[in-house]
Subunit: 367 residues, 4 copies
Amino acid sequence: MAEIGIGILGGGYMGKAHAVAMSSVGAIFDTALKPRLEMVCATTPQSAERYRAAYGFARGTDDWRVLVNDPAVEAVVIATPQETHREIAEAAFKLGKPVFCEKPLGASLDESAAMVAAAEAAGVVNMVGFNYIRTPASQFARQLIADGVIGEITWFRGEHTEDFYADPEAPATWRTTGMANGTMGDLAPHMINGALALIGPIARLIGTHETVHRARPGGEVTNDDHAQLMCRFENGAMGQMYFSRVSTGRKMGYAYEISGTKGAIRFDQEDQNALWLYRMEGPEATRGFTKILTGPAHPDYQPFCQGPGHGTGYQDQIIIEAKDFLTAIHAGKALWPTFRDGHEVNRVIAATLASADAEAWTDINDY
Amino acid sequence: MAEIGIGILGGGYMGKAHAVAMSSVGAIFDTALKPRLEMVCATTPQSAERYRAAYGFARGTDDWRVLVNDPAVEAVVIATPQETHREIAEAAFKLGKPVFCEKPLGASLDESAAMVAAAEAAGVVNMVGFNYIRTPASQFARQLIADGVIGEITWFRGEHTEDFYADPEAPATWRTTGMANGTMGDLAPHMINGALALIGPIARLIGTHETVHRARPGGEVTNDDHAQLMCRFENGAMGQMYFSRVSTGRKMGYAYEISGTKGAIRFDQEDQNALWLYRMEGPEATRGFTKILTGPAHPDYQPFCQGPGHGTGYQDQIIIEAKDFLTAIHAGKALWPTFRDGHEVNRVIAATLASADAEAWTDINDY
Amino acid sequence: MAEIGIGILGGGYMGKAHAVAMSSVGAIFDTALKPRLEMVCATTPQSAERYRAAYGFARGTDDWRVLVNDPAVEAVVIATPQETHREIAEAAFKLGKPVFCEKPLGASLDESAAMVAAAEAAGVVNMVGFNYIRTPASQFARQLIADGVIGEITWFRGEHTEDFYADPEAPATWRTTGMANGTMGDLAPHMINGALALIGPIARLIGTHETVHRARPGGEVTNDDHAQLMCRFENGAMGQMYFSRVSTGRKMGYAYEISGTKGAIRFDQEDQNALWLYRMEGPEATRGFTKILTGPAHPDYQPFCQGPGHGTGYQDQIIIEAKDFLTAIHAGKALWPTFRDGHEVNRVIAATLASADAEAWTDINDY
Amino acid sequence: MAEIGIGILGGGYMGKAHAVAMSSVGAIFDTALKPRLEMVCATTPQSAERYRAAYGFARGTDDWRVLVNDPAVEAVVIATPQETHREIAEAAFKLGKPVFCEKPLGASLDESAAMVAAAEAAGVVNMVGFNYIRTPASQFARQLIADGVIGEITWFRGEHTEDFYADPEAPATWRTTGMANGTMGDLAPHMINGALALIGPIARLIGTHETVHRARPGGEVTNDDHAQLMCRFENGAMGQMYFSRVSTGRKMGYAYEISGTKGAIRFDQEDQNALWLYRMEGPEATRGFTKILTGPAHPDYQPFCQGPGHGTGYQDQIIIEAKDFLTAIHAGKALWPTFRDGHEVNRVIAATLASADAEAWTDINDY
Ligand SMILES: NC(=O)C1=CN([C@@H]2O[C@H](COP(=O)(O)OP(=O)(O)OC[C@H]3O[C@@H](n4cnc5c(N)ncnc54)[C@H](O)[C@@H]3O)[C@@H](O)[C@H]2O)C=CC1
Ligand SMILES: NC(=O)C1=CN([C@@H]2O[C@H](COP(=O)(O)OP(=O)(O)OC[C@H]3O[C@@H](n4cnc5c(N)ncnc54)[C@H](O)[C@@H]3O)[C@@H](O)[C@H]2O)C=CC1
Ligand SMILES: NC(=O)C1=CN([C@@H]2O[C@H](COP(=O)(O)OP(=O)(O)OC[C@H]3O[C@@H](n4cnc5c(N)ncnc54)[C@H](O)[C@@H]3O)[C@@H](O)[C@H]2O)C=CC1
Ligand SMILES: NC(=O)C1=CN([C@@H]2O[C@H](COP(=O)(O)OP(=O)(O)OC[C@H]3O[C@@H](n4cnc5c(N)ncnc54)[C@H](O)[C@@H]3O)[C@@H](O)[C@H]2O)C=CC1
């Protein structure tokens, strides 16, 4: 059994999720590399120590350089805010260490371009944290489309909607300033990545965005609360997307609807263990959307449970990511989604923001 | 009991629906005016006679002028294709007869403008067949919004999706040529009217449309299979719409989602007796979308059934229209939605088509 | 076109529903016999006149004998409370007039036995008002089962649940006294008939029932608020049923779940236009319940609407009944469900009540 | 940080689930005791070694006595078939070691009685593996009922339905012989425990059960495929339950519906992150079942994810169990559900089987 020392940057929402994932991924997927929780980094020595004790790391630090440079840290997971991603990743790559970076990849298109360059120059494993596309249901949706089950795609609608900022009294945080932290920066990447993975590259688009609540306790809001776009994919499909953190009532609205010439697929992350499939075949009288409950017949489900319909949850997606990351490291070969995939998402975001400013259809190729 | 002689133009899909509605509306709503099925008109004497006998009209004709001019025909229902609407309506107005016209109002913006002028010059009752907005559920949605239950509207998503042309082997008909008969012309009016009724006037928009299957048995297809738009309402709400007759698997996808600062509403005509309401109040732990089944507590439900949740269907919407039309005639005062409302919808359609050609955001006020 | 004079007893909930049905069934189904609303009967001259005017009958009366004996009344619809069914039906049969009787058939097993005898002696058309089994969805469920699509039936669960008496402050009416008017008498017949129609005869059962709220404004409650039973069908299937008028939150809970060796069916009248079908075929990965929206491909749908998924409602079931009744009269041959079918239901009810008293499994054949 | 050495008996379905749970529970719940995977036991040295390596245990063995007696094993988790539970538990208790035992508690009522006696004599922590009742949704349902939100309970319906034996070609295993391994023995305990936890003790009941497929590849089937019961709870509520492993189409049908005098609750494990709550309050027009998505406001959710609606899955229930077990050990005080609770379930099962034999209502107190 080969062990690998893991260092995680950040101990908040995602830092914890990755620590948990690294604790259990070995038992769940029987990975060739078994992770060892080596070090966690947070902004203060106190919080670092708190995370260390709570999550079971050997050591903690408040200096990311200490973590990245530590010889026992053999792979780096970045779960700190977007502004910090680039510097950390580049340092790790310089040392030849594999990096898993939370979405979005860096705080801007320039940053992600640089990060891709650094990753490719280093030639080490690099991966971005697009977890929602990794549920058994969404992986299966990708398979169905690739297998032509729903024919040529004619239409895509995607949304990533939550309501954690629907209440104007919810206080300002790092998420309320900086375009990389607003809805286009923070939530849209998941669904844009989903769209690219499910349908393929986008050719052109036009978007618009808006700040609904401009002031919050603790500060002004300088980034977008919700945003939308219309697009054309390279394969000709038409599409529409919507992203929001003020979508009252929506808690985890990563949802899509895909129409093809032979069928259709519908999915909503709020019921993440069901995929709806319509096929234009058989007698009209028995056609309809089939509600498929995920189970051992679907990708990456069986290791969690032998029983179909028993269900996976949010944390399990992060465990699937950890498995992919460890698998890539063991094979010495980056696996989808790499930094380049993260950068592709940033290109779409940049094009959307530009199209909103210009109020004009915009080619992705210009970004 | 006052009777009123009804003449219906067309005996197809909608001609029948209106004939049935006029047969039963008196018993259901105990209207002051009780309709008498006086005359039906179709393209041939044979089909006219067939419809007469089947639906219980006193007489049939293949000449719409005969129907409109007949003195026993005291109110006119137009359920023929869009190209015929204007001429018939104008003739009826000249005789001072009330007119109910199926959607869309005429075959173009010019036509609907002329029809509004004719209606207003005649000063008689005029109404357009936007039936979906008349379900108890959608009427209740309008009330909830008007009462401020979901606060200020921030977002609207609407669709009218069906799949009757998803199969490329479905033959060409009058619906496959002429922009008034395509998806923007034929299906979009329902949801655009819905958007205007639920949210208010649209300020500006940008759309795009496409013919997915360009050839069908029996002819080329010269109008759009699906179309989409992004918009901004005058009250500031952002929005998105989609219309399709090739939306595989969707049978009656008149659906909308509305977010407000205090709540949200969701509706899908495929489950037309349920309205979903979220309110941002009470403890977080018991919040969620409430699935309200329509019943006697909701608009225009009780006359159909004393039991809640027992449900109304498609035909019942047309009966509600008939009730409104008869009520308007009896009161001598047009009721919503009038020809002007039909024309407002056509302005949005015209702006959408223009924006698609220009590939640019377009002001509704220019139309 | 042959006309037939219809007399309806009762102008309340169901009297109105049948009046509306008779007004529109001719136009909807193009029946060979076109009904003419000849006479309505209610308890007072005033209410009779009110119903006459509202529903469009030629005449009204407060004496059911006048109606039954009137020569222009050629067919009789009984929509008065259960205690009145027998006397009226027998009188009509003596005159050789076809009778449609609302469920339950009479106020007791003895009554329904007598009514069957009278109907069969007269040799005229007789029918019972089991409307819920007549939705396009439930008719289709029967077809699927008959065609063996779900294999041998192993399990049936049925319920008829509403909540109109969940509130203890809802006042006493005729429904709160007399076992024929309680939940077993008033609501259970629908689902028991459904069970017999879908699965086949019941061999034995054991039930229990209870009055939850024993006093209401206006009087004591002397019949059951809810009841349940377990049973074995003659074909070997096991089953379970529940009936309630105090099922808080349930508005129209006519619902069933059927498991077979090759598939399963689920249905809930609260979403009456959807039937859920599971088939144990094809790869595991794409199996699931298919939500079939009713449409022209399903029984008795097309006359209401050419568009699939556009939906039928409560009133439409009564129209389907009226069509069946008129068709039977025209053919001179009773159609399912006849009085005998109504009596079969009463046998199951009698056995259930007896089993509750005896606290013992009971054979239907003893009743 | 205090560590505790864990020994797990069994490395199959549940052995793995508990191993995973013990790997991550520390990081997720920041438990005072941090588990150390000390030893795993399976039937052969080979399988024991396989599980050891895969799940990350220090050591493996094929002799359960070795595990139980090992001084580094400080707490014992029994995840072997029911026939083995008693002997192992009793040995552990003799050594004063806390025991977590998978459901059902032993292979018979006698066994569970003995196991309770042993546990109570030893005075150590003992717990049974009823995991489904521990989802955030079902825990919240218990709270709502306890808080009186739905008033007095009038009705309970529960089911535990799966279809892993719907296919007659599925081979015989240990689950197809022995009443403790059939549907009443293997699946019913979950829902019976659920019923007791949600509603309270059952007073009397009558049940029936059946083997649908009597022969399978590999052997005859000597236990039940499905079973049902009707019951009366001590608090007066009426109820109905159904259990099946041949419920075609049902994958994880742990589902219940509870009616009270003020509201109702509905839950289906196939959509385990939603709880449906109806309250008889506010205007009729806005009443309906509210679909509550679980989130940080609900029991035991927040440690898994800060985002509401992001969802937990099957494995997370086992982690919650592990947390409860470790908490109990740390506090030195058994937590619900203890062996006694497991025995209460066995009493209901024994009474059900007896009532089926006797074909008679049976008092729980006789068992
Ligand atoms: N994939 C997903 O579902 C989600 C991804 N994210 C992404 O994960 C990243 C982290 O977000 P959250 O966990 O929500 O944030 P958080 O605010 O909950 O936690 C951030 C953590 O980073 C640490 N940190 C911040 N600056 C640091 C610095 N300079 N050096 C060392 N530590 C530092 C803080 O101490 C804290 O522990 C972001 O890039 C975000 O976009 C966030 C939420 C969900
Ligand atoms: N509100 C709604 O839900 C729907 C509205 N419509 C609208 O209803 C109208 C009619 O559509 P459908 O009933 O679907 O068409 P259809 O093709 O089923 O029937 C058209 C009828 O008009 C008659 N007709 C055609 N040209 C005529 C003429 N010049 N003079 C006399 N009769 C003529 C035909 O004989 C036929 O009876 C259209 O404007 C359409 O957009 C259609 C379907 C649904
Ligand atoms: N199939 C279904 O879905 C339903 C069936 N029913 C059945 O329909 C029947 C009527 O019930 P509802 O319409 O709900 O009752 P209701 O109380 O609304 O109306 C009863 C009507 O019968 C009239 N009536 C009563 N006694 C009479 C008499 N001796 N002579 C003449 N008229 C008399 C009353 O004036 C009233 O018009 C019952 O047998 C009931 O079980 C009721 C509701 C639903
Ligand atoms: N809570 C839940 O959701 C579930 C609970 N269970 C319960 O868990 C227990 C185990 O069931 P599964 O994991 O499904 O069985 P399984 O057949 O998948 O695994 C049984 C394990 O026990 C081991 N084993 C059997 N006899 C043994 C012995 N005498 N000594 C040592 N090891 C032995 C086997 O080697 C195997 O590793 C049962 O009591 C069952 O009722 C099972 C499935 C789900």
